[in-house]
Symmetry: C2
Subunit: 594 residues, 2 copies
């Protein structure tokens, strides 16, 4: 009953029409990413995800991973699918050709990642983490480390992990206890226990490359004393072949609410040999390279799961006959009308659509910025786009995953009792979606990152790269009668966002608890306003194309934009009122009374 | 890690202080329900739920029910717990003494039901459905049926079910295909397949009494041709002992997202012997007797699961050390501050609290009304309270269960990565809570019931029993400076509710799709305003007691009321704007474009 067909038309709309795909092709290094090639790659990826990954999704959930004596077996079919995935070259798609990659834009890669998330989130966690580890080694590792490890990671022969969390510390990495002792040969002996390590152990690749946060003997206390180390599962010999097993073992795997096909490992490091990545005690900086990419990866999960559950729910709503339209039978020849005639079913479906398509559009604004950061020749342009991406990444991570969970739940709701039955398949998406709100920094932590780091960064510089284009756009279009119905609510909610931003900047300076108390509501407000902006821009493009040959597609865009403005954007008023009420209602409550 | 201690102080506050418990004692038949007895019963129930049911909750989830050759085995320990439960007389607590019950108020029973839901929702579904079946037989069955079946059901020796759903019909019961053929002896032969039958088969009781919707040969088409039948699993002989197995068998049980300990059965009726309950073709009326009680039972689940997850999350937030307060270390002697210092953690905990305690207070307004309906000597008073309960029941069912799911998810979120791990226990509550939004009429159906049936009922008469007391209260207290901070937002949101109600009445008359399109947002708006009312009243009582010996308890009430007004009630503005935007954005979307 799980159906999925990659939303290629929408992806092409965003890539080529909302944004100008040709601009990306114009960046040095992206010359080969022509519109035709982009479309062909999207189609190939869709086939792979629909035919190879989707059929394994429920098997992964039902069978899960198994653990025995340090060995982890992934669910039946996962290993073969992974081989097909690497053989087709998917891990290398957006990687620098220097390391064997195909050098395609990150924007294209993101859309393919979405298809993987939509069809098999658990599977996607294996290659997904490798990308983060690859990025960190590439950005901070020595040439020797890069040459030894990166090519096999790009080829998918070796996978990567991020080993941060320990039993006593998750968010607060300053409390890391894992120790690294320098050896005479320049290597380090790593000892400690890491938990919640995604893909920490599995049977898909020949080697696993762990990136591990640990403390050197002379480390300053807290977060400023963390260093990053590369620890392979198997030692790599001079000639590149695999040597002895290193001192790192999987102690157990977790039973979880969802993503059963993804192994979540306790990893025990016992005098394991490792190498420093980057500068001593500056591991957090290197780790942030991984985390920002990983956060966009998690943001992507919210979109993919949203799209998949939308499609399941829409299919069900059109097929399931139940009750009659309140306006009188619409299919009198049938024993009942399909669910889709009911306004409340449509409200749920349109909510799912408005969030999913809106978030996809916003995501591509960010991935484009990342493409500019990596390829634009002008450092000033790169810096501007880096600031925009830095600002919007925590919003994407938290807002998209909150939406993804909400959308998946609406998918269950539309299925009624059938939605609660495992065989139907949709409830798995709810359980899988739940983790995205937690890992790579819980969504409350993203909100703190937004108000505590991104807003004040460089005197508010990042904010400009969102506020300026939006206000310029509003001004430019405010006299266009066709856009009035979108521009008006956008402008109103944008005004609220500006006011809230000023308030947080001012009050937060005097009392950081004010900013922290506002953070989650502010992040959601920001997300909604950003969606209002991209929905207005999408409506503009769609309105200009209504008379062409694809009227239905563009009309649906305009109608969804309308729905978003009237039915979802009003939340901004409630969020504004809530956050402006200040921290007192939170902080005055006696701790003992909780 | 699952901890629960029944919120006895809050329950006593509501029973005796917010509402006047003595008034209930004054109703004929409730004379024995003195304050002391009520408190003693609550304490006994708390002990039972904490000691007997809670330890079985995770076992029930992990082991689930098993099916083999028509036999269903409940999880280890469930049968023994059920025996203890019936031995202690809990099923009989609020039942009429005429049938062996103890005649306690439904209000008291509801609080105990909450404890059952909080400690073991799956267990609670077994006795829970018996109550509904008991009510329907008592209200509509013949004397013979009542005498044969009710005493053993009250004693818990026999359990009951509600057999409504069939593969082709859930919400739309007019499509029922199960047939009932009259026999010469006054009995009927029932044939058909029912699905999603909670506790349809299990090993806890000697007999199971099914109440089955079916069609007689001369039935008019649709919903007006449904009759209700009693079908026992084992035939009952003249002397009351059990005879032959009846023609009803469990065909399989469902694998579900949650409530694994509750058996969800496919029931095959094959020429099963049954008896008519009530009048031919008027089965829906009898079924509604069961459904209204069942809906309050499901509403109760939202509260119970909310309370349990709140307690788990609050405990974790006070114990888990992670990060430092943004205002500077609050426990410099420890390696980190506890989570509870963070404003965003407090925001989540207070949200959980404000919904759970607010919903409990609102629920007791409804159960009191039900107590008046069943015991008050004046038929006019009974009718008034019946109208109030009819109006608020769909709101309680949908709003409380939506809140319950939201609260359970906040509980997971506060636990971070630990929340996603099954062993922690809190994620089970999310999976269990999910069904409450679906069964006994999906929440969208409750919203339609509210706007389509309850608002227009008797020219809007039921509405009066909510609108009048609220506006009188606002008027009476509007010059009390101590209450101003509560009365002002209450009055404002109440104004929105009145305006929305008028709009729905007017527009819905012209176009039913307008009312249907507004329904879900309207129901949530109504729920929030009702909570604003009960929170203001709770704050009033608490303020009056602040100088007594329990300052902390009353101060927490006032602080939570404040939080609700400032941080949650603002949603009412967004809901108002969304619903007032009308049906067009929903209905103009092309069906084919979904």
């Amino acid at each position: 009953m799980t159906t999925y067909s990659a939303p290629l038309r929408d992806m092409r709309f965003l890539y080529h029409e909302l944004y100008d795909g040709a601009e990306l092709t114009g960046l040095p290094g992206y010359e080969e990413a022509t519109p035709d090639l982009v479309d062909a790659v999207l189609e190939e990826a869709a086939k792979f995800c629909e035919n190879e990954l989707l059929p394994l999704n429920r098997i992964g959930d039902e069978e899960g991973c198994t653990y025995e004596n340090g060995v982890v077996r992934t669910p039946p079919g996962f290993k073969a699918a992974y081989e097909a995935y690497t053989e087709a070259g998917w891990p290398a798609l957006s990687v620098d050709p220097e390391y064997g990659g195909q050098g395609m834009p990150k924007t294209l890669d993101f859309l393919i990642e979405e298809m993987v998330c939509a069809t098999n989130l658990a599977f996607g966690t294996y290659p997904g983490l490798t990308v983060g580890a690859f990025n960190a080694i590439k950005a901070h590792g020595s040439d020797d480390l890069k040459q030894t490890y990166l090519p096999n990671m790009v080829a998918g022969k070796w996978s990567g992990t991020m080993c941060l969390t320990e039993p006593q510390c998750g968010t607060d990495l300053g409390m890391v206890r894992t120790r690294a002792v320098p050896q005479d040969d320049g290597s380090f002996k790593i000892t400690g226990t890491k938990i919640f390590i995604t893909a920490g152990e599995h049977d898909m690749t020949e080697n696993i490359i762990h990136l591990v946060l640990a403390k050197l003997p002379d480390a300053p206390p807290g977060i400023k004393g963390i260093s990053l180390f590369l620890v392979p599962k198997f030692m790599v010999k001079e000639d590149g072949s695999l040597g002895a097993r290193n001192g790192v073992m999987c102690g157990s795997i977790e039973e979880k609410m969802g993503i059963h096909g993804s192994s979540t490992c306790v990893m025990n490091f016992d005098d394991a040999t490792g190498w420093l990545v980057g500068v001593p005690h500056k591991g957090m900086r290197a780790m942030f390279t991984m985390m920002n990419a990983a956060r966009m990866g998690v943001a992507c999960q919210g979109i993919g799961l949203g799209e998949a559950t939308y499609q399941m729910a829409a299919t069900y709503a059109k097929e399931r006959l139940q009750g009659r339209s309140v306006a009188g039978p619409k299919h009198p020849d049938k024993p009942a009308d399909p669910l889709i005639v009911h306004p409340d079913i449509r409200r749920m479906l349109l909510t799912m659509r408005a969030y999913t398509e809106g978030n996809r559009a916003l995501a591509l604004w960010i991935t484009r910025a990342l493409d500019y950061v990596s390829k634009h020749p002008d450092p000033a342009v790169r810096a501007d786009h880096e600031d925009l991406a830095a600002l919007l990444t925590p919003i994407a991570k938290a807002f998209f995953t909150d939406c993804g969970f909400e959308v998946a739940n609406l998918g269950v709701q539309i299925h009624g009792g059938m939605g609660f039955i495992r065989e139907t398949g949709v409830e798995q998406y709810v359980r899988d979606a739940r983790i995205a709100q937690i890992y790579e920094g819980a969504n409350g932590v993203q909100a703190l990152d937004l108000v505590g780091r991104k807003l004040p960064m460089n005197m508010g510089r990042p904010l400009r790269f969102f506020f300026h284009p939006v206000s310029e756009y509003i001004e430019a279009k405010s006299s266009d009668p066709a856009l009035m119905e979108f521009i008006m609510p956008l402008a109103k909610s944008f005004g609220r966002l500006q006011q809230a931003t000023g308030w947080i900047a001012q009050e937060g300076m005097k009392d950081p608890e004010q900013a922290a108390a506002a953070a989650s509501d502010y992040l959601r407000l920001f997300g909604l306003v950003a969606l209002a902006y991209v929905w207005t821009r999408m409506a503009e493009v769609a309105l200009a194309n209504m008379d062409g040959g694809e009227r239905e597609f563009y009309a649906a865009k305009v109608a969804t934009a309308r729905f978003f403005m009237k039915r979802l954007l009003p939340q901004s008023s409630a969020l504004f009122a809530a956050l402006m009420s200040g921290a007192d209602t939170l902080m005055d409550f006696e701790e003992a009374a909780f």
